[in-house]
Amino acid sequence: MDVLYFAWVRERIGLPKERIETSAATVTELVEELRAREERYAVAFEDLSALRVAVDQQLTDFDAALAGAREVAFFPPMTGG
């Protein structure tokens, strides 16, 4: 699965995108796996209320299932316009 990071999430983790092999069933499980990896992930995912998630380029929430997902992205609340 491709995992993408944007804005300060990208900066904290130190890369924009990586390929991850995971059997996580939900976004929350994926976040737990990432947090356990290294300090920079733990820091980036410290406060989930400050984060948003998209699965296959659709905004969703952290309960979302990952079955069949090809791309998950994490980022702060959007500031377009």
């Binding site: 998209a54 659709q58 992205a73 609340p77 959007m78 500031t79 316009g81």
Partner: protein, 145 residues
């Protein structure tokens, strides 16, 4: 409907003119453009986005506006990359037989692309860089619709 995501500047006047041209069945044309404000010592505003999702999100927002109001056409142009104060970041435009529809749809587009399209702004100033935080007011604006 036209949705454009690009790094290059766009010609606001020419886009307004082209969008409004030949609308014999539409009485009302509304346009909005957002400009980088030169607050404090801001040097550049840098806009990051999510290629692929950005286009999908903007298209979905424009389609929803067309479903909710009686519109003739919708235009959305949004830039990414670095911009200086005074540069135009984005524009939306709507046409409708009646002015209220055109105004409401343009406000809807703005409210949604502010908080639901994957763009993130970073302000670069002399005393450091700062990600622009989403505001409670922008999130609240969505409850209108």
């Amino acid at each position: 409907m036209r949705v454009v995501v690009q790094e290059a500047p766009f010609d606001f006047g020419a886009e307004c003119d082209r969008f409004a041209a030949g609308r014999r069945d539409m009485g009302a044309v509304v346009t909005f453009t957002g400009v980088v404000r030169g607050d404090g010592d801001l040097a550049t505003m840098e806009i990051e986005h999510y290629p692929g999702m950005t286009e999908k999100a903007l298209t979905a927002i424009a389609e929803e506006a067309q479903a909710r109001w009686s519109l003739g056409d919708v235009l959305v142009i949004h830039r990414h990359g670095p911009m200086r104060p005074g540069e135009r970041i984005m524009m939306v435009a709507t046409t409708a037989p009646h002015r209220r529809d055109a105004f409401e749809a343009a406000e809807y587009l703005m409210d949604y692309l502010k908080s639901r399209a994957p763009f993130w702004k970073k302000e670069r100033a002399k005393d450091g860089d700062k990600w622009v935080a989403a505001t409670e007011a922008d999130e609240q604006a969505l409850t209108r619709w």
